[in-house]
């Protein structure tokens, strides 16, 4: 059994079009948004004047220098969101491969080339983060402030310093890339040589990777997202990022499979495979909601100002803490939990493309929305809203992601031949339930 995906001219053009249009929109956005940024800044100053003397979230956001939320900052924040967005999907796919190998899951064998292809985006994701290394002081308050200005940040300097930040992130990226590259290599070698050697080796690599992943991914989450608001802390934060990653990675795998199937590839992928990925999407979105509640409920309940400020910034409507995120805050739970929960509950919904695709697109938006809500208040301050800059940056990243993933799909047989669980996967059924 052998089948190869061809990344034909038409789809190539669409993907390049995405990148091109994205860049054009971004430039247009920069051109048009110059003044609105200033207006928002003026409004912010007004708020500062009114509430002078209070413990002040707005002032806190910008640090003690209080500089304007420039368009440059906004673009940086958007690049960070784009980089995070596709890095989380990639890592979700890599975790999918590793955990299923460790768990001896047979059903996913027939579709495993898709997550494998997704993991090949990892080097590009790393480059997008590496580019941000040069702008740390524009993104992060702790990198921007001199020592001696903020006592709490000074307490954390042993961890939050640029040198340590760059070095440990390079180690994380290196480890992830190594695991992704090696697992892919083993998988392709399996196609050629068969046997159980590569298969068993992959089990060991996966187990080691999962341990490394648990530690590195939570530190990665702290570094790139949580430290945007360096005073705030929450122990669950890494798991929260992980939950979001898994939802969007599963949706991405599902949608790419649908695309391939519509193109006439992968005829052996049946309802049951889609059903199982659909179950993951459902399950992980519930898991995401669980982690969301765990973090929100505990912080809300104990009402400690140092912690509560994170949410105050995000949902206060009337008083001085107003940053314009309150609608985003509630909408986040709607798109990431209530929509998939109600729409994907039944068995048929997970198997019916016409139901799943809209829900999947909503969830993919939801993941972006979630990241926006995590990044923007810390990196920019006032809610800049979603306009051409946001759309343009995202489209550019999306085009890049699709280009890399589809190119990677052409590089290998879509069927992982000689995989010991292939037969099981080809005959996979979920029964009547």
């Amino acid at each position: 059994m052998s089948e190869r995906f061809e990344f034909t001219g038409r789809y190539r053009n669409i993907v390049f079009g995405l990148i091109g249009v994205g860049i054009v929109l971004l430039l247009a956005g920069i051109f048009f948004s110059d003044q609105s940024g200033t207006a928002a800044h003026d409004a912010e100053h007004a708020a500062v004047v009114i509430e002078q003397g209070d413990v002040h979230p707005v002032a806190d956001t910008h640090g003690h220098g209080h500089e304007a939320p420039t368009t440059g900052k906004r673009i940086l924040a958007n690049v960070l969101i784009g980089a995070l967005y596709f890095m989380t999907i990639t890592m979700g796919a890599l975790f999918f491969l590793a955990i299923h190998r460790v768990g001896n899951a047979g059903w996913q064998t027939a579709i495993r080339r898709v997550p494998e292809a997704i993991t090949s985006y990892l080097p590009v994701a790393v480059v997008s983060f590496a580019a941000l290394f040069f702008f740390l002081d524009h993104l992060f308050e702790w990198a921007h402030l001199e020592p001696g200005v903020d006592a709490l940040i000074d307490e954390k300097r042993a961890y939050l310093n640029e040198g340590g930040f760059i070095i440990r992130n390079l180690i994380f990226f290196g480890g992830w890339f190594g695991a992704a590259w090696y697992l892919r290599k083993l998988s392709l070698a399996q196609d050629q040589e068969g046997g159980l050697f590569h298969f068993k080796r992959a089990e060991v690599i996966s187990a080691v990777f999962i341990i490394f992943f648990a530690i590195s991914y939570s530190l990665f989450a702290i570094d790139w997202v949580k430290s945007l608001e360096p005073h705030w802390f929450s122990t669950i934060f890494g798991i929260y990022i992980f939950a979001g990653s898994m939802v969007s990675a599963m949706v991405t795998i599902y949608l790419i499979l649908v695309f391939l199937k519509k193109q006439g590839y992968m005829s052996y992928v049946n309802d049951a495979h889609f059903h199982d990925i659909g179950k993951y999407v459902f399950g992980f979105s519930v898991f995401w909601a669980y982690i969301w509640v765990a973090q929100y409920l505990l912080i809300w309940y104990s009402n400690i100002p140092e912690e509560g400020i994170y949410y105050v910034k995000r949902y206060r409507v009337e008083d001085h803490a107003y940053l314009g995120y309150s609608f985003f805050f509630y909408f986040n739970v709607l798109v990431n939990f209530f929509v998939p929960f109600l729409a994907l509950m039944t068995r048929n919904a997970k198997r019916t493309f016409s139901v799943f695709i809209p829900v999947g697109v909503i969830l993919l938006y939801g993941h972006w929305h979630d990241l926006f809500l995590m990044v923007m208040p810390g990196a920019v301050g006032y809610n800049p809203g979603i306009s051409l800059i946001e759309v343009g940056t995202f489209m550019t990243f999306l085009g890049l992601f699709l280009f890399v993933v589809f190119t990677a799909l052409t590089r290998a047989n879509l069927v992982p031949q000689k995989h010991p669980y292939l037969e099981e996967s080809l005959h996979h059924t979920t029964g009547e339930v």
Binding site: W107, T235, L298, S302, P420
Partner: protein, 471 residues
């Protein structure tokens, strides 16, 4: 379930070729006379249980002043034991529900015993908060019922009340799930007893079998509700220990108030539960000669889950420590230094060694497959998980915000006795269960037997009659 099995997969049922043999092997303890060791063990655990109940009586007579609590350390042994037992209760539902959703075939032969374990553990757990009320006979006030006490309502904002809802839901749903799974097996025992002419036993098991006939229409419904119950029990099992963790995490006590508590408690609960499953299964498979059903591969799978959850727990310890430092908060930092190096530091290191280091030994196949060492490690895990709760509860409390309120805590013999008594209760229930109910889920194990041989009773040319059922 996929109909094709990869040849590299292991067999979960070994040395067994007919369905009849499965029935025979598993019903043997029920049909035979109780052996003396079982009688002695049951009597002993019954004795321990009785002592525990006597001490409970003493506590109720004198009040909880008989315990070592003081105004600073107002929660100690009782809540530690409560969380410990609830935690153990988690493995059962995890095995029967979560592993069913993940189509893990090895769960089929250990789910029954672990569910039983769950129920008995939750019973033990339930005792402690009720006793800690001081006036347990007013426990009814915890229910949100219209009343004449000036229409005094419960406080829905209180995590302790959430616990009431969570634990009672968990207990009843687990009980129903467990019982439902036993109905087909009761029918099997009923018919065997009837064939052997044991009318009383047949009537008793028949009564419990709810008239089960095993028709395909019934099976079809039965399977679907098992799956739906699993789907419901999976978030339930997560919610229960999350809510238990919120008893602590909603407070403003450093060391208690941390957002990772819900998932961390769940991981710890599964870890401790699997530790207890190991302890019980190693003994059960040996005593009842069930090595063909609870194979070495089963024990290895359990050990792998123990590594995974043990590492998760260790990961949570490190996260807590790191974020306590990262927070920059004096109180957060102090409580964690004090945990590891303060007066209760010894308990911290017991916890750390037992929960994080010992399970790592299971990375070695030699250790995973050595039942003596596995048994010892499983005991370590049980001890370690008890200490984890002790560390969390007592070390966070004994250093109050005001140094003048600092205190220590020593349990009294009454508290210790009640705790040991719950072990008696737990083991007593488990022994009764292992004698009178099928320890392994027969019908689910039968689905794992592919390509059976012709049954012996057909080879002999007879049909419809039984062979060698001891009367």
């Amino acid at each position: 379930m996929s109909h094709v099995r990869s040849p590299i997969r292991q067999k979960w049922v070994t040395n067994t070729e007919t369905y009849g043999k499965i029935t025979e092997d598993i019903t043997r303890p029920i049909e035979s006379k109780p052996n003396p060791i079982w009688l002695a063990a049951t009597a002993f655990s019954g004795l321990v249980m009785t002592i525990g109940f006597a001490l409970i009586g003493w506590t109720m007579w004198k009040g909880i002043g008989t315990w070592g609590l003081n105004p600073t350390v107002g929660w100690a042994f009782d809540i530690t034991n409560f969380v410990f037992w609830v935690g153990i209760g988690h493995a059962g539902t995890l095995i029967s529900a979560v592993l069913l959703l993940f189509r893990q075939e090895w769960r089929n032969s250990i789910n029954r015993a672990s569910e039983a374990m769950t129920i008995f553990a939750v019973l033990c757990a339930g005792l402690f908060p009720i006793l800690h009320m001081g006036r347990p006979w007013l426990g009814l006030w915890f229910l949100p019922l219209p009343n004449t006490r000036g229409s005094l309502w419960v406080n829905f904002n209180s995590p302790l009340l959430w616990d009431v809802f969570a634990i009672s839901t968990y207990l009843t749903v687990s009980l129903v799930f467990w019982y439902l799974g036993m109905i087909p097996d009761f029918a099997t025992i009923r018919d065997r007893m009837a064939r052997a002419g044991r009318k009383v036993a047949a009537a008793i098991y028949g009564g419990m079998a709810f008239g089960w006939e095993g028709s395909s229409r019934n099976w079809s419904r039965f399977e679907i509700i098992s799956l739906i119950l699993s789907g419901l029990a999976t978030p339930l099992v997560l919610s229960v220990h999350s809510i238990v963790s919120m008893d602590f995490a909603t407070s403003v006590i450093p060391g208690w108030h941390t957002t990772i508590f819900p998932p961390y408690f769940v991981a710890g609960a599964i870890f401790s539960g699997f530790g207890m499953v190991q302890t019980l299964m190693i003994v059960t498979r040996k005593v009842y000669k069930l090595e063909n059903y609870i194979t070495m591969d089963h024990m290895e799978s359990i050990a792998k889950i123990v590594i995974a959850t043990g590492s998760l727990v260790g990961f949570a310890y490190m996260t807590e420590f790191f974020i306590a430092w990262y927070s920059g908060s004096l109180w957060e930092r102090y409580i964690f230094i004090n945990r590891a190096f303060g007066p209760f530091g010894w308990s911290y290191w017991i916890m750390f060694t037992c929960n994080v280091i010992t399970p790592q030994l299971f990375w070695f196949k030699k250790i995973r497959t050595n039942m003596v060492i596995t048994f010892i490690i499983s005991i370590f895990i049980n001890v370690g998980m008890w200490f984890e709760r002790f560390v969390i509860i007592v070390t966070s409390l004994h250093r109050d915000f005001l140094p003048s309120s600092w205190a220590s805590y020593v349990p009294t013999w009454v508290e210790a006795g009640i705790f040991i008594g719950t072990f008696g209760l737990f083991m007593f229930c488990f022994f009764l269960f292992s004698k009178f109910l099928p320890v392994v889920n027969m019908f689910e194990v039968k689905t794992l037997l592919h390509h059976p041989k012709k049954p012996a009773h057909l080879e002999a040319g007879e049909s419809g009659t039984s062979e060698s059922v001891s009367a």
